[in-house]
């Protein structure tokens, strides 16, 4: 198992470096550079100003030199300096990380727990009105664009009912502490986390239902029944466990995106997370910041892929580690 993990990590490092190089060139292919954007924002520019910015950001150097400097920094775990935010990229990412993990982590837990639960119930009651209701709702949540769900949620729960805050991470200026602070953050979290969670919840529910219905028809389930096991035990130990593999795959993919945040949701709800940071960096051609977020996100996806593979093994002992 250790050899397997070591080999996967070595491969991941190579993949990560390839991603860095690819992203480096892809970003620079987009029209406009940070110096022009910043000059544009300043509402005035002259040659001296743009030259100063290019010199400051190292954009006046040949592309291979810029790439070398950047990759050397990455190897030394230095993600560089944000042109526009005028701060180290690693600090910007770390500052936004807690808010993003809270949001996407909550959405992950909500979607996984309720998605699997509803999927199980639908499979259990297949063909009944309850199954139809769950399936239809899952289809609706799966198909509805996130930003629309977000805006409707704000309209209903913030504007019309005034139950929940519509933006931000906490009540600014309230200086809550302790439990009050936790409750305040929780209130701010409900709408964005649910918005993200609904899509994944629908996906998990549909996948769990389909997978369970398929497994239910297999011989070993008939055997279990013939042995006289209780239905609840059959469902939990035999059907669900075998049906979970595709769900684990999907959960692994979702977990890999946790750090990347949710661009749309964070933007609509003014949630101060990494998704928004990435979106703003893109609009401002803040190369280092954008690359930094990509590097961290890619690393997380690779890490969670590895974790997913390990979980496969515990869910299904028939799977072996092949180094």
């Amino acid at each position: 198992m250790l050899a397997f993990i070591a080999q996967r990590i070595a491969k991941a490092v190579v993949v990560l470096l390839a991603i860095v190089v690819l992203n480096f060139f892809l970003i620079r292919m987009a029209p406009g550079d940070p110096a022009l954007v910043m000059a544009g924002e300043a509402g005035a520019s002259d040659k001296i100003f743009v030259a100063q910015l290019r010199d400051k950001f190292g954009l006046d150097k040949p592309l291979p030199v810029q790439l070398y400097t950047y990759v050397r920094g990455i190897i030394g775990l230095d993600l560089g300096f944000s042109f526009r935010q005028q701060m180290p990229v690693s600090k910007l990412i770390l500052d936004r990380l807690p808010a993003t993990l809270l949001l996407t982590g909550t959405a992950f837990v909500i979607s996984l727990a309720f998605g699997v639960l509803f999927g199980m119930l639908a499979a259990r009651w297949a063909g009944t009105w309850a199954d139809t209701a769950i399936t239809v709702l899952a289809l609706i949540f799966y198909a509805t664009p996130l930003f629309w769900v977000a805006l409707m949620a704000i309209l209903l729960f913030s504007v019309t009912m005034d139950w929940l805050p519509s933006f931000g991470y906490e009540t600014v200026g309230a200086n809550y502490t302790g439990l009050t602070h936790v409750l305040d953050v929780g209130a701010h979290l409900i709408l964005p986390a649910t918005t993200i969670g609904l899509f994944f919840m629908a996906t998990y529910a549909r996948m769990t239902r389909a997978s369970m219905l398929e497994v239910k028809r297999l011989d070993f389930v008939k055997t279990a029944r013939a042995k006289g096991l209780r239905d609840a035990v059959i469902q939990r130990r035999h059907v669900l466990r075998n049906a979970l593999l595709p769900v684990v795959t999907l959960a692994g993919l979702q977990a890999g995106t946790l750090v990347g945040g949710a661009v749309l949701t964070e933007t609509v709800f003014a949630w101060p997370g990494i998704g928004r940071l990435m979106y703003e960096a893109l609009l401002q051609r803040d190369y280092n910041l954008l690359l930094g977020v990509f590097v961290v996100c890619s690393a997380m996806v690779l890490a969670f892929n590895l974790v997913t593979d390990l979980i496969y093994r515990s869910v299904d002992p028939r799977i072996e580690f092949a180094a």
């Binding site: 987009a30 000059a39 544009g40 300043a42 520019s45 002259d46 005028q86 600014v172 200026g173």
Partner: protein, 516 residues
């Protein structure tokens, strides 16, 4: 030398009679929207809109400006101008201190001039005629110019020439000075906290040199990236002020009908944002004067004002906005007349070639405006193709002159020598900037008129010169002028006295108060 003394009268300009009748009440917290999040609050280094909007309450300039663009006392309490228009002496307020307690003196002014010439592109241009600046004593600063520069008294607003603390920046690398993250000014509000991505918190300067001011205790500037979410934040009472441009125009009528909500288009007089279509004068159909005039006749600008901008702003008559100095309306007129436009297109020999229209990627309002213009142009037979970009892409395309017709708007800074000439004179034709003569118009007569206008003295001579320049430009139609823009500032009505100067919210919280 006889000196003409221009006394800086301490008046509260633009204040409504109703507000004057009310006694300001101290205290309270104001929540304001800011978008996008500024990269820095150090306005000596960064001059984008959001930075100026917040930093204008932390830093100060030597002068402030009334809505009629008359200079008002700022850190300078009075000033004199020599008869030949070459020497300006400023007498500074006494008893002014930086937020860290150090006194503000003429040494800070000299340092600021030197600092800004290195870091501030607009200040560098505005100070091009400066021969030297001296400080005969701690509270006097004398600017000597190489030749008279008409708009000189108009360059001392906080965003254009902010005062920078010498004791903090002298001998340091300005761009990496740690104080950039905790700005220190002389202004009515002090920096308290910045949670990136969430909010910026300013608190009252208890040692401000005007007794009793500011009235408000705290300001929170909330970073809300989505325009619809900003509307909701105001609608649900979470924010009290939406500075101009915070929400899409189609939300303005709805918000303005809410209880206790006031809307004003004032506070943009200094900037006088003027919108137009750049028409590439170098090649293609837009190189033909008759084609450009046809575009002017083809566009229904009243429709844009009434429908897309909800009646705010004015139809532009030419290169200068009506709110800036030396504006004249005595220029050739281009009323909406599609028939005339078609006739001109025929005269121009236009044969249906495709022209690329580049909208300004600043949100839904601009997109809708571009669609309306496209429709207008198509109605007269112009074959228009819309080109989609984001902001960096737009910057790149116009800076490289890679367009046929492109939307833009630019600030005019109160004087044709500061914000108008740059778009029409030949020396400003250079790739790499979206703020110069991007259309490539070149006319030696216009070059001379703007060169003369900048240095003519006194002002009456300047007026004659700019009248002539405006007439020539409007006839040549190097660009298609659209609207003098007004970005509505939306507030709770009990936030009083916020917009009283020519830069509105940017320095407005000094005098603002909350009616509880």
């Amino acid at each position: 030398m006889l000196k003409r003394i221009l006394l800086g009268l301490v008046v509260v300009c633009g204040t409504s009679a109703a507000a004057l009748a009310e006694e300001p009440q101290p205290g309270g917290v104001v929540n304001v929207v800011i978008q996008p999040e500024p990269p820095s609050l150090m306005v000596g280094l960064v001059q984008n809109g959001p930075t100026q909007m917040i930093a204008g309450n932390i830093y100060e300039g030597l002068l402030r400006y009334s809505p009629k663009l008359e200079p008002l006392p700022g850190l300078a309490e009075s000033w004199t101008v020599s008869e030949d228009g070459k020497v300006y002496a400023f007498h500074l307020r006494k008893g002014v201190s930086w937020h860290d307690g150090k006194p503000f003196t003429s040494a800070d002014v000299l340092f600021s001039i030197d600092f800004l010439k290195q870091t501030h592109p607009r200040a560098r241009g505005n100070l091009a005629q400066l021969e030297k600046v001296e400080a005969p004593d701690d509270y006097t600063v004398v600017f000597k110019l190489q030749q008279p520069f008409g708009p000189f008294l108009g360059i001392f607003e906080v965003g254009s020439l902010p005062m920078i603390p010498k004791h903090i920046y002298e001998g340091t690398d300005y761009k990496t000075n740690p104080a950039n993250n905790t700005p220190v000014g002389t202004g009515p509000f002090m920096f308290k906290e910045w949670q990136k991505g969430s909010f910026i918190h300013l608190v009252k300067n208890p040692n401000y040199y005007i007794a009793g001011k500011p009235y408000i205790d705290e300001i929170y500037w909330h970073v809300i990236p989505d325009a619809a979410a900003r509307s909701v934040a105001f609608e649900t009472g979470k924010v009290d002020v939406l500075p101009g441009g915070s929400v899409e125009n189609f939300d303005v009528p709805r918000l303005s009908k809410l209880k206790n909500v006031c809307v004003t288009g004032n506070g943009w007089e200094f900037f006088s944002p003027q919108s137009w279509l750049w028409l590439n004068n170098r090649s293609g159909p837009t190189a033909n004067k008759k084609f450009r005039q046809a575009v002017m006749f083809a566009i229904d600008r009243n429709f844009a004002k009434d429908v897309i901008w909800n009646g705010l702003g004015k139809v532009a008559t030419g290169p200068s906005a009506s709110s800036i100095k030396y504006y004249t309306s005595d220029v050739p007129k281009y009323d909406y007349d599609p028939t005339k436009a078609k006739a001109l297109l025929k005269e121009a020999g236009y044969n249906g070639e495709k022209v690329r229209l580049l909208p300004l990627p600043y949100g839904e309002t601009w997109q809708r405006w571009a669609e309306a213009v496209k429709q207008n142009l198509q109605d007269t037979g112009i074959n228009v193709e819309m080109v989609a970009t984001d902001v960096p892409g737009w910057n790149q395309k116009v800076s490289d002159w890679d367009y046929d017709i492109a939307f833009t708007y630019l600030y005019q800074y109160g004087d044709p020598a500061l914000g108008v000439g740059r778009n029409y004179i030949s020396s400003q034709i250079a790739k790499g900037s979206p703020f110069n003569n991007v259309e490539g118009y070149s006319n030696p007569e216009i070059d001379k008129l703007f060169a003369d206008g900048a240095v003519a003295f006194p002002g009456s001579k300047r007026g004659e010169i700019y009248d002539k320049a405006q007439k020539i430009l409007v006839d040549d139609a190097p660009v298609a002028w659209l609207l003098e823009l007004q970005f509505p500032t939306i507030t709770r009505c009990n936030v009083k006295n916020l917009v009283t100067t020519a830069i509105g919210v940017n320095d407005g919280f000094r005098d603002a108060w909350i009616d509880k």
